[in-house]
């Protein structure tokens, strides 16, 4: 069920990534101020936007779980947060590489954009031990959903606070109402954003399909009344 449409989605993701990378290196003009280094932004900024949006989507799924008590939504929420945390790792590393090239430092602690993203990332990094610490699966799912809703609400608040704060050195990608980017750069950026959104969706679908298949195998084992080999994960929820 979860694997439905995965093949065309994967193909679309690969195609979109290829188009985006081609646009980044062969179409988008060099930035007058930053030069070639600015090419990192086509990767770093879409990754950050999709990761933050993914955290919010995880919160929305958690709300649906709390409202319906359907474990499917808990699995959706877990997977959305899981993939967003992976994207978050990429955001932090690519950002640090850009910072080193541009500022000469891997990290700047008095820069609100960097520190706020790190806070959000570390907040979601606690999601796993928090989930893992609870044995009872129903309580685990409920508490994890409450966490996802609370943290999900924190993400846009945090983002707005950072936008309103006086940035010291971190550039603003959309500095003006019309985006502040020339046409070629904007087109490239939007393609990269679409590619990252597609990649996130594909990975979420992959993860859900794997969890669903694993859940079905366990159900089969239980139906056959056979002992389950290889301990089932207490962190990751199963979907049937």
């Amino acid at each position: 069920m979860y694997g439905k449409g995965l093949k065309p989605l994967s193909i679309a993701t690969v195609a979109m990534l290829a188009v985006s990378l081609s646009l980044v290196f062969f179409y988008a003009p060099l930035d007058a101020d930053q030069g070639f280094i600015q090419k990192i932004f086509y990767l770093h900024v879409p990754l950050a936007m999709v990761a933050l949006l993914g955290f919010i989507i995880g919160g929305v799924f958690a709300v649906l779980h709390l409202r319906s008590d359907d474990r499917k939504w808990d699995a959706y929420s877990y997977v959305a947060i899981h993939i967003s945390v992976i994207f978050g790792v990429a955001v932090l590393i690519t950002g640090a590489i850009w910072a080193k090239a541009s500022w000469g430092h891997w990290w700047v602690w008095d820069e609100p954009t960097l520190v706020s993203f790190l806070i959000v990332f570390l907040l979601y990094a606690t999601y796993y031990p928090f989930r893992y610490a609870i044995e009872d699966r129903d309580r685990q799912a409920r508490y994890a959903s409450v966490f996802a809703v609370t943290a999900g609400a924190f993400v846009p608040l945090n983002f707005m606070a950072v936008r309103m704060a006086e940035s010291l050195v971190h550039p603003r990608t959309f500095a003006t109402a019309d985006g502040g980017l020339p046409g070629e750069m904007m087109l490239t950026f939007l393609c990269c954003l679409a590619a990252m959104a597609l990649l996130w969706t594909t990975l979420v679908k992959f993860e859900l399909t794997a969890k669903s298949a694993s859940g079905q195998v366990k159900r089969l084992r239980r139906a056959l009344d056979a002992p389950v080999s290889g301990g089932s994960s207490r962190i990751a929820p199963e979907v049937s």
Binding site: F25, F36, I37, A90, I93
Partner: protein, 67 residues
């Protein structure tokens, strides 16, 4: 001419190293994730094989009882 060779935006100077590093990190993360997913799929396949073997054993037992 082969497109990457004709591309103007690939000078391997100081900036090029950092840009390449950022994109390689992204690629490596993606490959690591796919490798983990591949391991998961292999585990599911192995479990499925075990379940199929148990189901076949049960079927043989039932047929023996009937016989």
């Amino acid at each position: 001419m082969f497109l990457p060779l004709a591309a103007p935006a690939l000078p391997l100077d100081e900036a090029g190293k950092y840009v390449a590093g950022a994109y390689v990190v992204f690629l490596v993360l993606l490959v690591v994730y796919l490798a983990i997913m591949a391991a998961k799929v292999q585990r599911i396949e192995r479990e499925l094989r075990e379940v199929a073997a148990i189901a076949e054993e049960r079927k043989d037992e039932r047929e023996e009882v009937r016989a």
